[in-house]
């Protein structure tokens, strides 16, 4: 319930911010008066009409995804890209609706609208992300997560999830090798994989992150599928530890790719 309400709130506030930031751009450019040469109402109407389309474009960048960290440069780039599309859409819509372009009014206004929506929306996303993480982590957590396998990678992952208040909240650890450790960063080690089923049920697990025991991936997947749990796999389980992997599509098949990094060839690799 909490995640759904938060998502709806996020989408609604984004729409409001988009229109509000366009209005701000108008007043910065025109002055804090209601001009008769360039009326505010058509401008605002166009922004309101374009806002849902812009939101759709923003949604395709998966910026609202649970696992997306708003603080990354990649996320900022996506928001900037959506803002650029928003300005283009706004210009087109304004032209088609009112049969006038911005040439006679103010082209700089469009640049300001772009800068304000790109920067403003990112700032709002940063703030909302912090609030969302805090709310989703409140007890009981919205996304109780089971960690399978106790390795240095999984310990580091738990520390990062907890340190960044990630919505995926580690609540239990199972280790196929039967570690003697009883807890890691406050997360209890409940035993070996023979306790999988009861852990999934009692802890109301929504996500499983496999960090070792590759030979059991099919069985973990099977358990997750049966209970509608999201399954994740750390690349280190496959021996990929240098964090240079990427998931791509090869003729429609998802493939994990690790290839030599050649500077400047990011778009063509």
């Amino acid at each position: 319930m909490r995640p759904r309400v938060l998502l709806l709130l996020w989408l609604a506030t984004d729409l409001a911010f988009f229109a509000g930031l366009y209005a701000l751009a108008y007043f910065i450019r025109v002055g804090f008066v209601l001009s008769t040469n360039f009326p505010f109402l058509p401008f605002l109407t166009t922004a309101l009409v374009v806002a849902p389309v812009w939101l759709l474009v923003l949604g395709t960048t998966r910026t609202f995804a649970l696992t997306r960290n708003q603080r990354t440069m990649r996320n900022a780039a996506y928001i900037t890209y959506a803002a650029l599309v928003g300005v283009a859409l706004f210009t087109l819509a304004f032209y088609f609706r009112f049969k006038t372009s911005f040439q006679g009014v103010s082209r700089l206004l469009l640049l300001e609208a772009f800068a304000l929506t790109a920067g403003g929306i990112w700032l709002w996303h940063l703030i909302f992300d912090v609030i969302r993480r805090m709310i989703l982590r409140r007890s009981p957590p919205s996304f109780p997560t089971l960690i399978v396998g106790l390795t240095r990678e999984s310990k580091s992952l738990i520390a990062q999830l907890n340190g960044h208040l990630n919505p995926l909240t580690p609540v239990a650890i199972l280790d196929g090798q039967g570690t003697k450790e009883t807890e890691v960063h406050g997360v209890p080690v409940l035993g070996k994989l023979d306790r999988l089923e009861e852990t999934l049920v009692h802890k109301r697990i929504t996500h499983v992150i496999q960090c070792s025991n590759l030979e059991q991936s099919l069985n973990l997947l099977s358990a997750c599928r049966r209970r509608g749990i999201t399954y994740m796999l750390l690349p280190s389980v496959l021996g990929i530890v240098e964090r240079d992997e990427r998931v791509e599509s090869l003729e429609g098949h998802a493939v994990t790719v690790v290839g030599p990094e050649i500077r400047g060839r990011w778009f063509f690799r």
């Binding site: 306790r195 099919l218 099977s222």
Partner: protein, 318 residues
Amino acid sequence: MRAFILAGGFATRLWPLTEKRAKPLLPLAGRPLIDHLLGQLPADLSVTVSINAAFEKSFEHWKAQGKHPHVEIVVEQSRRDTEKLGALGAVAQWITQRSITEDVLLLTGDNFFGFSIQEFLGQYTPGLPLLAAHDIGDPGRAQSFGTIVPAPDGRHVAAFEEKPVHPKSSLVSTGLSILPAVHLPAVVEYAQSKPDNVGGIFEEFLRRGIPVEFRAFREPWFDIGSFDAYLEATRALVGDRVLLGHEAACAETKTEGSVVLGNHSVVRHSTLRNVILFEHCSVEDCVLTDCILDDHCSLRGIDLSAQMLREGTILERK
């Protein structure tokens, strides 16, 4: 004499096959491993099986089939690996609670003995602890087992070695032994400090100056504690053939090595090499090598090797 079968382990190395059943209930060549054991014991021998609370239901189901009505089941109240009494602890508890005053034939429920247990019983010298030893042939192969160092007379144990780097013999301790009634108090006493160490009781006998005898066998013996051991035991028992359970079917399928299809399991248009399917499995258009599928698995259009699949796994290529 009474028989006591240890079946209280949690068998975590064989997860997920042991998620809902104890190791002795795993099917071996078409019937539960424990049935192989019980089939070897004299009909008039009183048999007790020690289990843990986590697998109580699966043993109730097995008992309800009525093949072994004389077998008594005692339930150790542990549900987790960390709570268990320990194998020797379970023996000691049973001896104490039931005031056992007879010789005890002790068997570990996850062992398959290809040799005659009745013959082993016939070689028992009253009052002397007796161990069954499997002659693995090459001392080099005994490195991963507990081994017996024989005395010059070839009947008595001189010493034990646990997973020796340089084994002094090719005789490997098995899960079959006799504890004479006269030494049961020593068992109970030793179990208080080492409840996990069944093999240790024989070392304790030697420490106390009690002679321990052994009988060596060359026939097959398997300690089914791992995926590889389970497949190896199946290969040894089934050979290069297909073993079909009740209403099982294998159509237009190429098979190699040992293939066991449990009751109501069906395979079509596939290639199977050393594969065990438990009950109600369905496999179509697959290539499976060294795989064990628990009940109600359904696979279509995939290739797998060296996998144990948990009950109800559905893998279908879309």
